[in-house]
């Protein structure tokens, strides 16, 4: 068979990077040191904590007892098996779906691309717990609307679906971030394949599916592998869904098991940290592997006047669009509507009461002074974290993508660490840090502490998102500015930030969203004064007040949605191409 030469650009011996003056070097070092302080120091405390053992007389001694006893705790092994099973099943189902949708949106003439894209971003941004409440109202074995209807229509005497189960948990993951996060990472890569590569394959007689399988997928392999690596890591930190859906069937994963240990009396902090560190150790090879992959990968870059032709779906256009739009509707609008419905119910999920509907809960929650304070806390936390975070993440991404700074590998490595450590354990490390370092003690109990926690949680995804966009913007765009006489700061302001505008807005939204929904990372360091909405919601749920929890959930959804709309408007005013 004759070899076909692909019109790929010849790989350059090295990607152009900026040379550093001493000023640049100091700035980079400062960035590295700050990252090390906020990520590595809590980690050191966690490692130290794992070697602290409580002696029978109550005093603490140094020893490795926890490293052994952690594995003998009831359910630890089962939790490991559960985690692996849950991750494997979710990934196997969601990856092909995400690849398919990304390809359809990026490479074909499917109608309503904006709509599909919006659905994906909505699914990514919808806070997990409120959405879960919506699903519970639909799929609860006792009162779930879908179950009730199905039993009535098909004459079943057993509810067909149960959200409080293994498959319920899988479904909840798929509907929230499993597919959407992968889609978000994959679409830019799909957009940047040259159409000529696909066309060459069509010309020699390959069909569309064969072309995807034999040309598109191999070219995209690095991007896909990295996406998988990121979702594997994320999968281990998943917490809220399992925390709510797991316990009724005694289903624990790693993160909820650790949380259970920390809440036991007496709390098993050392054992929990041991499990957390075990995850970290298992994840280290994965991080190093993906770093190597990224460093050897040749990126397609956005030049100017970038164009590609789209594959025609012909008579498949509308059926495929309908299927995907329906899917998008199901994972976003349906649970949200169900959630809103739940807030107006007398008792969450009970349709057979004398009075089914009421606005009393709204009156009650809105009248609660705790709500206003929590709302204020969430707003300041979210906006503060978003503003500080975007600037910080962009800087970190820039150092590791664009400079020849010697410590850039270390910096990149540190940004990956928080993702490998379950949020509750990190939260514990932060608690120890804020209590033991005298310099930090005055800020304990303030919003600042929570901002740090949220940013540590968001740093991996945030920096990776910016990086994956930054490597696609040709460095020549910056060099052109330097040669024309512009300083680095001027170039950053007028060229880098505007070009990356869309992704920076997305990352800001992502950070705000993390702040509004995250429980795991802040649960150990929240005090009465800085308690945000997400915890108020969990408190209501723990008290069995599902209606009030749903109302807080609606407020969180409205808040994130409102902020997203504002961000888009701002983006449009500055002429950014919108998401």
């Amino acid at each position: 068979m004759a070899a076909i030469e692909l019109p790929l650009p010849a790989p350059k011996p090295n990607r152009p990077r900026a040379a550093l003056g001493w000023l640049g070097w100091s700035a980079c070092t400062l960035v590295l040191l700050a990252m090390a302080l906020f990520v590595l120091y809590p980690l050191v405390l966690i490692v130290y904590g794992s070697f602290i053992v409580a002696a029978p007389n109550g005093t603490k001694v140094f020893g490795i007892a926890a490293w052994i006893s952690a594995w003998n705790q009831a359910g630890t092994v089962q939790a490991i098996i559960n985690t692996i099973e849950r991750t494997a099943v979710t990934e196997t189902i969601s990856l092909p779906i995400a690849i398919m949708v990304a390809w359809l949106v990026a490479r074909t003439d499917i109608p309503g691309k904006k709509l599909i894209d919006n659905f994906m971003w909505m699914a990514f941004f919808l806070p997990a717990v409120p959405v879960l409440l919506g699903w519970i109202l639909l799929f609860d074995p006792d009162y779930g609307i879908v179950n009730k209807v199905a039993m009535a229509v098909f004459g079943l005497d057993q509810p067909p679906l149960d959200i409080f189960s293994f498959w319920g948990i899988i479904f909840a993951h798929m509907a929230s971030r499993s597919v959407s996060a992968k889609y978000i990472f994959l679409v830019p890569a799909f957009r940047n394949i040259e159409s000529s590569l696909e066309e060459a394959s069509h010309i020699i007689g390959c069909g569309s599916l064969a072309t995807i399988r034999r040309i598109v997928l191999p070219i995209l392999m690095p991007a896909i592998l990295i996406t998988v690596a990121i979702s594997l890591i994320h999968s281990l930190e998943s917490f809220e869904i399992e925390l709510i859906l797991g316990p009724p069937t005694n289903f624990y994963v790693f993160s909820t098991k650790m949380y259970q240990m920390m809440r036991a009396s007496p709390p098993l902090f050392s054992e929990a940290t041991v499990l957390g560190l075990a995850v970290l150790i298992c994840m280290l090879p994965l991080i190093l592997w993906q770093q190597r992959l990224l460093s050897t990968r040749h990126f397609a870059t956005i030049g100017s006047g970038f164009q590609h032709r789209l594959l025609r779906l012909r008579h498949w256009r509308w059926p495929i669009f309908m299927a995907i739009a329906a899917l998008g509707l199901v994972v976003t609008v349906v649970p949200t509507a169900s959630l809103v419905l739940g807030t107006f119910m007398n008792i969450f999920g009970h349709f057979n009461l004398a009075v089914v509907w009421t606005a009393d809960h709204w009156r009650e929650v809105l009248g609660d002074h705790l709500l206003l304070r929590s709302l204020w806390n969430t707003l300041t936390l979210g906006l503060g974290a978003a503003i500080v975070g975007v600037a910080w993440f962009a800087l970190v991404a820039y150092v590791s993508v664009r400079t020849r700074y010697a410590g850039r590998g270390a910096l990149d490595f540190i940004t990956w660490l928080p993702a490998t450590l379950p949020g509750v354990i990190l939260s514990l490390g932060l608690l120890w840090m804020f209590l033991t370092v005298p310099f930090f003690r005055p800020v304990y109990g303030t919003i600042f502490v929570l901002i740090v926690a949220v940013l540590i949680n968001a740093v991996t995804t945030g920096v990776q998102l910016i990086k994956s966009n930054m490597v696609q913007v040709g460095y020549e765009l910056e060099e052109a500015s330097f040669v024309l006489g512009a300083s680095w700061v001027y170039t950053f302001r007028r060229i880098v930030v505007p070009i990356l505008g869309p992704v920076l807005i997305s990352v800001a939204l992502y950070i705000f969203n993390t702040a509004a929904r995250n429980v795991a990372n802040i649960v150990m360091i929240v005090t009465g004064g800085n308690r945000p909405l997400a915890l108020l919601q969990i408190d209501y749920m723990n008290d069995g007040q599902y209606e009030s929890a749903a109302i807080v959930g609606v407020i969180i959804v409205l808040l994130t949605w409102g902020i997203a709309m504002m961000a888009r408007a701002v983006g449009r005013r500055f002429g950014f191409r919108t998401l």
Binding site: G303, S304, L477, E479, A480, V483, L484, R494, G501, F576
Partner: protein
């Protein structure tokens, strides 16, 4: 002091290494004010790296660079002037057109950087857009333009602040053939009007020959020959330059007395020895000449000195001349023949005597 002809840019023993790879190996160049100077060579020869060193986008590992008497880089003192402070203009191979700015804002950018007053910016940008033939396109987003227009924008952006030197990195490689020829001519006219010194990097010999005042042919990080296009074409210093610039017909034989080689069939080809070629009678040697120097004689003449027996295997009349393929003892040569006035036309399959004029033939060691 600033009259045309004096040296504006000096590179003295400049080197750049990537690990063990010597991308640029101690090259020295003096570039004269107002000239178009080309760095010509195959890909990977170090020409683009040299340009980046001149622009200040990369730091050399040795040597020094001087612009108008001002030290831009010196290995001995460690001085390095960053790209921002060199006052050079550059057009990148990809044009590096910013996707978020309009044509006007793109061209105005260097002036905004220099804090020029708004009114003056408008006047200057309008004048510049007129100069490059883009009047009226100011409001368009730069990436929505065609390739040729994008290149004009890149050129306008690089010229607007009257840089000392304009650097062009393969500026025509992204254009189609027709547009390439047009832009080549426009660039030369524009340069003659503006008078800016230009350094052009290219792998296309036609581009280099037609645009340049002087050319440096590079290979493996070193300069093989430097001179005017005419010098390089007519008097290549070595076989690399000979083969890289222009096509040549080569015949192998053995050197005999009297400045000629003898082919295997006994035909003698006389010519002049290449400069610096150390050849003595009995050595294997190559006779080389440009195809356009070939002449045609009657086939009966074949076998005499400098005339080979040949057959016209294909003949294409293209109006002002013939394109033809000539078979010489099994080797096919493509060349042009002048149209014939008042003589019987050539015919395909015709046997001819192929004349290699002795004053056009150069003899090289094999």
């Amino acid at each position: 002091m600033t009259q045309a002809g004096d040296d504006i840019l000096r590179l003295s023993r400049v080197s750049r290494h990537f690990g063990n790879f010597r991308a640029v190996d101690e090259i020295s160049i003096d570039i004269k004010r107002g000239e178009i100077f080309s760095l010509l060579g195959p890909s990977g020869c170090g020409k683009s790296t040299t340009l980046r060193l001149v622009a200040g986008l990369d730091q050399p590992d040795g040597g020094d660079i001087t612009l108008d008497g001002r030290l831009l880089y010196s290995a001995t003192t460690g001085a390095f002037v960053p790209a921002q402070k060199r006052n050079m203009g550059m057009v990148f191979q990809s044009y590096a057109i910013w996707p978020h700015l309009s044509v006007f804002d793109t061209v105005a950018y260097p002036l905004s950087v220099r804090k020029v007053a708004k009114a003056e910016i408008t006047t200057k940008v309008d004048a510049m857009l007129r100069l490059v033939g883009l009047e009226g396109a100011g409001d368009r987003l730069a990436p929505s333009l065609s390739g040729g227009q994008q290149q004009r924008v890149a050129l306008a952006r690089a010229l607007i602040y009257e840089p000392d030197v304009l650097l062009l990195d393969e500026p025509f490689s992204n254009l189609d053939v027709k547009l390439r020829e047009q832009m080549r001519l426009e660039l030369k006219l524009l340069q003659r009007r503006v008078g800016v010194t230009v350094i052009l990097v290219t792998h296309d010999q036609i581009e280099a020959l037609s645009l340049s005042d002087r050319i440096a042919v590079m290979r493996a990080g070193r300069i093989e020959q430097m001179g005017s296009p005419f010098e390089l074409y007519e008097h290549p210093a070595n076989t690399f330059v000979r083969d890289f610039i222009g096509a040549s017909l080569q015949l192998t034989g053995r050197l005999v007395e009297g400045g000629a080689i003898e082919l295997s069939d006994g035909t003698r080809i006389a010519g002049k020895l290449a400069a610096g070629a150390a050849l003595k009678p009995g050595d294997d040697a190559v006779a080389s000449l440009r195809p356009e120097s070939l002449g045609v004689a009657d086939s009966s003449q074949a076998g005499r000195a400098n005339i080979l027996a040949a057959t016209l295997t294909a003949l294409l009349f293209v109006g002002d001349r013939y394109e033809c393929v000539i078979d010489v003892a099994g080797t096919e040569i493509r060349t042009f023949l002048p149209r014939l006035h008042g003589r019987a036309p050539y015919a395909e399959g015709q046997r001819i005597g192929l004349v290699l004029p002795a004053d056009s033939v150069t003899l090289w060691p094999r």
